[in-house]
């Protein structure tokens, strides 16, 4: 079956521009996670959705970052007024269950954002 997909795969933005990154999770997956991976680092948690509810946004680095999942499936991560330090790969992952922490997370290919 289809895995997690993300679009665009690559995005170049000028500093100050707004960007929107899309994630299509595996069908039927309740949980959806966003991670940020800087060059040479491991992924860092940004936010978590259970269906349409954003239950944890403790990892969002600033109020310029906003995520939504209005119908409990597709999710969008929006970054307003992008800065150079936002350059990273943004990963989306989905898992089958709700708050059960032991459900395997399946990762998408990521969106590589470069802010000039």
């Amino acid at each position: 079956g289809a895995g997690v997909s993300q679009s665009p795969r690559y995005k170049v933005a000028k500093r100050g521009q707004d960007v929107a990154l899309r994630c299509d999770p595996i069908s039927g997956h309740v949980s959806l996670f966003w991670y940020q991976q800087a060059l040479g680092q491991g992924p860092e948690f940004l936010t978590y959705f259970q269906n349409e509810a954003q239950l944890d946004k403790s990892g969002l680095p600033s109020d310029r970052f906003f995520a939504e999942r209005p119908e409990g499936s597709v999710s969008t991560l929006k970054i307003q007024r992008t800065q150079q330090e936002d350059s990273a790969v943004y990963l989306c992952a989905s898992s089958l269950g709700g708050r059960l922490s032991y459900n395997e997370q399946f990762f998408g290919p990521g969106t590589r954002l470069t802010v000039l």
Partner: protein
Amino acid sequence: AQSVSQHNHHVILSEAASLELGCNYSYGGTVNLFWYVQYPGQHLQLLLKYFSGDPLVKGIKGFEAEFIKSKFSFNLRKPSVQWSDTAEYFCAVNAQSSSNTGKLIFGQGTTLQVKP
């Protein structure tokens, strides 16, 4: 706060050599432990996981890992590496608690290069 430390950032081995990648975590409670692998040009995928029970877990492609609770460690091993094991390896931790959303805390990753 939870953290994960991977001791080796870049490992170079010849084919058939044995592999051990170190991973230590800091968290006082019960944890779920994971190793993810990212092959060149591909997305993150689960190599193996530990939730409870036998501390020696076996994963795909001949990999195994041992959870040593007293050392807060979850080292990855493979008796004989192949060129196709060239990839980046990430250790990750998830805290088992009622308030936890299932988010993963990753180490910074280890790049493994296997020479043919």
